[in-house]
Symmetry: C2
Subunit: 196 residues, 2 copies
DNA sequence: CGCGCTGGACCGACCAGTCGGTATGCTGAC
DNA sequence: GTCAGCATACCGACTGGTCGGTCCAGCGCG
């Protein structure tokens, strides 16, 4: 097991190692000993920076939520027709997801390992994120450019299911770039929203 | 924790209890002791019917794969236009998934807990299943009723991502029946495949 | 010299799996 | 009909080992 670059701070190295290991074998199947070994430090260092193994997971969630929310807002708040904004946001979600594939593998698989309070706050943040996306769909429906016979909520769950699933089949060194997958996914989403 | 009906065989009760608990808290966070308690039997009984905790998981996978493959084949082999067959198969996949939501929660989350050999065989079976679905899409593309500018493979991954994600948000006692969600999902799929 | 940081021995809890043993019921010889 | 012989079904205390987390000594930078 190669250790993470020694240039980063101990805290960053621990987070990077934990992210990789949690994605690879799951939170419960990764021991603290393995994390600190991969990060090239010891338990003493880890428990200096983090309260617990769960705390490490919590920080991983906090970061991915912040990143995704920031990026979505940038696209949703832009100028232009709603169809274009939704398309651009959809491409970007896919690109962001494949650029941080480990985070995405962890996200849904380890959700239930969070402490109840953290779990609730992550769910709430995720819901706000989905609502932002749903409002974009709703805007298009009201503008008459999207079909109105499928609930916007369901379209969003439909689309994010596909995005979440990327961690299962997408390989960064495969033939498809994140941009390409993103464009295809966004095209499928927009096509499925065309009025009959 | 209520125990499973005593009418079923010990083996069935163990599988039912394990399925529920694995779906609820994950494979690694469920102890054998908890499974046997929920099934109303003892460890001795469990290790009489199963080789290991992993063996229990393997049986759960074998069952869900068999069920899904059987049902898909029934729809793919039917008579009629390819768009209708695909639509019916898509509705049925969703219905089957929400009827066995615990299985679906376990499927992707616990895949990596399987022994390497079992893991490979489950992946292979799952791939055959996807290929069956992909061929249906390909058939429609060749017939000119589906668009040809998105790889069939990706359409399948796109759709099954949404199906897999159901375990995250669908609640059996919510306002939507499996049939309704299935119809919406199938409509979205077919709409996204319409030629431009 | 003081203190943020780190190493590593150590602890108690818990876990999957084992093992010696009991109970129940079927089978076929007489 | 019955009983020896045997297989199946099950029990639950126990074991070897792993895990998350603690603790404290020491190191080196300011």
């Amino acid at each position: 097991m190669a250790s993470v670059s020694a240039a980063a701070t101990v805290r960053e190295r621990l987070l990077a190692a934990a992210t990789r290991l949690f994605a690879e074998r799951g939170f419960e199947s990764t021991s603290v000993q393995e994390i600190v070994r991969a990060a090239g430090v010891t338990k003493g260092a880890m428990y200096h920076y983090f309260d617990s193994k769960d705390d490490l997971l919590r920080e991983i969630y906090a970061r991915v939520l912040r990143l995704q929310t920031d990026r979505l807002n940038r696209f949703a708040d832009a100028e232009g027709p709603v169809a274009e904004r939704l398309h651009a946001a959809a491409v970007d979600v896919v690109v962001t997801t494949v650029e941080n594939l480990d985070d995405s593998k962890i996200f849904f698989r380890s959700m239930h390992q969070l402490a109840p309070e953290t779990y609730r706050s992550v769910r709430a943040e995720r819901r706000r994120y989905h609502e932002r996306f749903r409002d974009l769909v709703g805007e298009g429906v009201r503008a008459g450019v999207f079909r109105d016979d499928v609930p916007a909520e369901m379209v969003v769950d439909f689309f994010f299911g596909s995005v979440h699933h990327l961690g299962t089949w997408y390989h960064p060194d495969g033939p498809l770039s994140g941009q390409e997958v993103g464009r295809h996914f966004a095209d499928l989403l927009l096509a499925s929203l065309r009025p009959a």
